[in-house]
């Protein structure tokens, strides 16, 4: 596991709490490395929204922010359906197959961690988006999804919601297989909006 992944995992699991100011020296000791790789990891984590600038120098673990979630989901709801429309014309049977495999594997494994679910989720979407061959649009969408990972702990793991989410995924895939990209894009937009509302509700509940 790289240093970047280690720090990210500590952020995800609350071992580094919002509000904490991170010192390169402390982190270097904590992970038994020198400050050079720490600097690299911090810069990357900062660019992905896991850390925020703190004063003139230094970084801090940012608070959870409902407004950030709203922005992220709104942007995703705008950009991802377009990407899917571009992809629709170019989807090979093999790609659709791989996407279905990912969904099936989620189905098979009953209780994955929130992080694992989030990862497979992205793998599924990314697998379709890549087919669009729009690397710039894809890169931005990927970044938004990475930024949203920070909130993955608040994602509902209720079996109920998982079922709904999976049903929407399969419906999208079916539409694509029929060649109806437009329908798939509409489903996707609703899927993202619904997930956003769900996450916001959870966030507001658990922090009020």
């Amino acid at each position: 596991m790289t240093l970047y992944e280690q720090i990210k995992s500590d952020l995800q699991q609350g071992r580094l709490r919002p509000g904490t100011v991170l010192k390169q020296t402390e982190l270097a000791q904590r992970y038994n490395v020198s400050r050079i790789p720490v600097r690299d990891a911090l810069q990357r984590l900062k660019s992905e929204g896991w850390l925020a600038p703190h004063g003139k120098r230094g970084v801090a673990v940012p608070q959870f922010d409902p407004l950030e979630v709203e922005d992220l989901y709104w942007m995703r709801a705008q950009l991802e359906p377009l990407l899917l429309r571009f992809a629709a014309d170019r989807l090979s049977g093999e790609t659709l197959g791989r996407a279905r495999d990912i969904l099936d594997s989620m189905e098979r494994q009953p209780d994955l961690s929130a992080a694992a679910i989030g990862d497979l989720n992205w793998q599924f979407h990314a697998c379709l988006y890549r087919a669009a061959q729009r690397s710039t649009l894809f890169a931005t969408v990927e970044q938004l999804n990475r930024q949203y990972e920070r909130y993955i702990g608040y994602q509902s793991r209720s079996l109920d919601y998982q079922r709904t989410s999976q049903r929407e995924h399969y419906a999208m895939l079916d539409a694509l297989q029929k060649g109806d990209g437009e329908a798939a894009a509409t489903l996707l937009e609703r899927h993202i909006a619904a997930a956003g509302r769900k996450l916001l509700a959870h966030l507001r509940d658990s922090r009020s």
Copy 2:
């Protein structure tokens, strides 16, 4: 001037040409610094689209890509009008004044460099967007604009186009001053789309 700015300027002015593979050691010698600050600058430039990964290690100066321009402008046309709508309700007289000052100063200076025009352009837009107090949305928009800077050399500097562009800016500002955020947002969307078409045409001309 920081190292980051120096390298960026060399990229902008073609002293580092598309296709070139950059070596940390070479750059360190070229700019008379050690490899540590070079690494930092390269990572940042990479995250802003000025450089692209090259193989497993190392970075290269990317080719100019019309598809990238299309994606950037399309995303900007989607995201920025929303940001302006959010801002519209919160614009103070002072903010509007500062925005107008920026436009006026562009008017006063007849022949600025493409880079200088681009910078003032962004200052104008950013000044309005900041009022929305949507930091996540703002950050994404800012990144898209920075990414687009790479193509600023292809921006038309014809007096004709500059006039059109300025007229659109003033029209937007007038709409905002009248409190008509909706009209301003519509103008902005068209403004971005028009600028995108213009840039694409130039790019295709000069490289065919």
